[in-house]
């Protein structure tokens, strides 16, 4: 059993998927199936043994902020009833949070380089959070975006020479996949909300930014990943069953995610 729990494949795929599925199944009647993303991701972090606050490294801050996202998402969904402004406001908030996450690295770089890198990361987080959270009423599209933001980030991080961040990304993708599976089966009865969309966007972009700052994921891969929440907005066959829509939306999301991985692969070959 212990061997199974320490297996990286189990930690970053089967376990977060199962945890995400169980949480989604239990909580969908109270419109909180979106907690699947956070629960699956944090289960993987726990299994990998990376929970802890001392010392508060960039990777640990990343987990703290990713853990704060579903809490804030639940608050937004249940207490404030999200409006059009919610998505960009959350984007700005978590963009600033991203600066805090990577401050220990940014502050060691020359001022201009650090400022440019920090501004780029904050802009990426703002963009991805804003465009993903605005999918909150469309569970199938949001699920497909979360799935491929996670998988693209995870695979990209592995190619960028960080297995830990790779595991985090793949775990997020697996947990989002569990949510998407439920949305495929139950259709519009499953609600994504800010709970799901905020978690998927924040965790994925922070992992990707971590792979950029702490490993060697190229900028261009992050730019490609940022297209995922736009790709799932392409027209879907709305009259067909949810599972067919989910497949089509996933194919849309696959394109930029695969592109991001291809760019990371190319960069690793030439760097």
């Amino acid at each position: 059993m212990q061997e199974l729990l320490t297996n990286p494949v189990i930690q970053s795929s089967a376990a977060p998927f199962l945890v995400g599925l169980v949480v989604a199944c239990i909580l969908f009647p109270i419109r909180l199936a979106g907690l699947a993303a956070g629960a699956g991701f944090l289960a993987a972090v726990w299994m990998i043994g990376a929970f802890g606050l001392a010392p508060l490294t960039a990777t640990r801050k990343l987990v703290v902020l990713a853990a704060a996202a579903p809490l804030l998402g639940v608050l937004a969904d249940l207490a404030f009833k999200p409006t059009r402004v919610t998505a960009p406001v959350l984007g700005v908030l978590f963009g600033a949070g991203a600066i805090w996450v990577f401050w220990s690295v940014l502050s060691q770089k020359p001022a201009a380089e650090g400022a440019l890198l920090g501004a780029g990361i904050a802009a990426l987080v703002l963009w991805t959070v804003a465009f993903t959270v605005s999918l909150q009423d469309r569970a199938v599209r949001a699920g497909a975006a979360g799935l491929f933001l996670g998988l693209g980030t995870g695979a990209g991080a592995v190619l960028g020479a960080s297995a830990l961040l790779g595991q985090y990304g793949l775990a997020l993708g697996a947990a989002c996949g569990a949510f998407l599976l439920l949305a495929m089966i139950l259709g519009k009865r499953v609600v994504a909300g800010a709970t799901f969309t905020l978690t998927a966007a924040v965790a994925a972009t922070l992992i990707a930014a971590g792979a950029l700052v702490l490993a060697k994921l190229p900028w261009i891969s992050l730019a490609a990943l940022a297209l995922v929440p736009l790709a799932v907005r392409l027209p879907l066959p709305e009259k067909l069953p949810a599972w067919i829509q989910a497949i089509v939306a996933s194919l849309y999301a696959l394109v930029p995610a695969a592109g991001a991985c291809a760019l990371a692969w190319q960069s690793s070959r030439t760097a």
Binding site: I48, G52, P55, T57, A58, S104, L164, L214, S268
Partner: protein, 196 residues
């Protein structure tokens, strides 16, 4: 009056004499390297080293006291696999990323002694604190060989030797690959320093 002057002179000279016995040596970076070895899948041992180490050590033989302060550039880690060939990354590149030494966030690790034990006139063991990945923990280093002499060509006073120790990398938060990639890191340090 003469006794008072004599006593005054003795008191004035004594601290200087004691001070003169403490010698400080600056680490010679081209002859001082922290080497390490770690188990690989329980099959073999991988050897590596850091190419850049700086610092100093001091010794007071009369008082049997000493101190050590070392700084190691984590990006200078090498295990002999720096050419990635057809792979995405070489092992040395991977060692520099967040899974291991995380050099972007922690470009240096350091060691500072808290006590130096002596065996006869020579230092035999250093008790100290290793700071790695932002975590500070006690690590003791045994001095296996200690020699002081005049450099045969430059004639400068030098001391050096070999030292060894071990620690668990997971204690410092470096958990990637444990237990397949060994948790215990064995240190073998060769060092030389010139008297300042």
């Amino acid at each position: 009056m003469r006794k008072a002057l004599l006593a005054g002179a003795v008191f004035a000279v004594c601290p200087l004499a004691a001070h003169a016995q403490a010698e400080t040596y600056k680490v010679d970076p081209v002859h001082s390297f922290p080497n390490f070895t770690v188990d690989h899948f329980g099959v073999s041992s991988i050897y590596g080293r850091f190419d850049k180490m700086s610092g100093s050590f001091s010794i007071d033989r009369a008082a049997k006291k000493g101190s050590v302060e070392l700084t190691i550039e984590t990006a200078s880690v090498t295990t002999g696999d720096n050419d990635k060939g057809s792979r995405p990354r070489s092992r040395d590149e991977h060692l520099r990323q967040a899974d291991f030494f995380n050099v972007a966030e922690f470009p240096r690790m350091s060691y500072k002694s808290t006590n130096v034990k002596f065996s006869g006139d020579n230092p035999s063991e250093v008790e100290g604190q290793l700071t790695l990945l932002g975590v500070t923990k006690p690590v003791n280093i045994k001095i296996d060989r200690w020699v002081c002499r005049e450099h045969p060509m430059s004639k400068r006073a030098m001391c050096g030797g070999n030292a060894s120790g071990s620690f668990k990398r997971s204690d410092f938060g470096m958990k990637y690959g444990v237990p397949n990639l060994g948790d215990e890191i064995r240190l073998m340090i060769n060092f030389e320093g010139y008297k300042e």
